[in-house]
Assembly symmetry: C2
Homo-oligomer: 200 residues x 2
Amino acid sequence: MIYPEPIDDLINCLKKLPGIGEKNAERLALTIKDFKAEDIDKFCQALKDVKEKIEICPICGHLSAGDTCSICQDKTRDHNLICVTEDSKSVFSFEKAGSFHGVYHVLHGLISPADDIGPENINIASLVKRVETLENPELILALKSTVEGETTTLYIKKIFEKKKVAISRLSYGIPMGAEIDYLDIITLDKALADRKQISS
Amino acid sequence: MIYPEPIDDLINCLKKLPGIGEKNAERLALTIKDFKAEDIDKFCQALKDVKEKIEICPICGHLSAGDTCSICQDKTRDHNLICVTEDSKSVFSFEKAGSFHGVYHVLHGLISPADDIGPENINIASLVKRVETLENPELILALKSTVEGETTTLYIKKIFEKKKVAISRLSYGIPMGAEIDYLDIITLDKALADRKQISS
C-alpha cells in the first residue's frame, strides 16, 4: 500500500465524488490532514446533516431543510407564476440571478423515450394538480434546449392547452458576451428566428 | 439564503478545499446528499482518522499511520540509499513508480532566503544525524529544479563534502513524450548539457 491506511481510506471516499481523480483526491486528503480538529467536526456534521435533514418540498419538489421549502413559504412571492425546472440546481441559479419573484416546480428529470423516462416518471402530475388550485396560473418553462427538454416543453404545453394557463419558455439566442463567429449554427439559427424588433 | 442551510454548510466546508469553487462545491454537495448513509459514515470516519492517526515518522519525516512509517520498517529495502524529497507527495510518486528500493528523507520544505526559510527550518539536521549512523550512505537528491530546490541541493552537497557520502541528483532533461519544439529553453539547455553518450 502506497499511502498510510487513514489517507488511503479518505482518498477512496473523495474519489467517489464527481470529477475527483486519484491525484486530486491525494491533494485534498493531504490538505484535510492539516485542517483544525474543529473544522473536521464541522465537516462531519455537515455531511450527516445534508443526508438527514434535506427533504423534497411536497409542493414544488425543490430541496428543503424542513417540510415545505423556504420559497413556497415566502408570502411575498407571486405564487401564480411558476417557473418549471429540470432540477434543483436550476432553481439555485435563478435564485442567484435574483430577479425572479415567482415560485418553482422541479420536475426531477425530463421526458426521454430513449431512456424509458415518460411523463409519469417525472414530477408532472403534481404540477397539473397544483395549477388547478390557482386562479391566474402562469408557467415559465425553463428547460434546456435539447431533444429531451423540448419534448418535455411540448408535452406540458399540450396538457394545459385547453385550460386557461399562460405558458412561456425561456428565449433562445446568443449568450451575453459571446463572439458571433464562434457560435454553433443551431444557436445562430434560433437567434435569427427569435429575433426581437427594436424599432418599427 | 439561496441554499437550504445543511447544503449551505456543506458547500462552505467543501470550498475550503484547494481548487474547489462555489459551483463545484454545489455539485459535490448535491452528490453527497444522495450518498448512502453508510458511505457518509465511512467518509466521516476517514476525515477523523486522517486527522487523528497520521503522524510524522521520527526517522524519515514521511507520513505514517503508526510510530515509524512502513517504508522505514521494511527490512527488504536498502537503508543506506536515501532519497531526499521536499514533501511526502514526492514519496508517494516514487512509490507509485515502484522502482526505487531505498528509503526516503522528507525535508518538509526547501531553503528559501526570500521567504526566510533557512536550513534550520527544514528537516536537514535529522538527515545529518541519520547519515552518520550508516556505513555506506548514498543520497539521491530528488528536489525540483527551481532556485529553492537547487539552493537546497547545493547546501546538502556542501554539508557532506568532507564526509564519505555518495550524492547524486535527479537528471534534468526532456520529459517522456514531450514535443521538443514546445519545451522551454531552460529545459532544452539542461538536456543539452546533461546529454548522455549512447555510442563512442
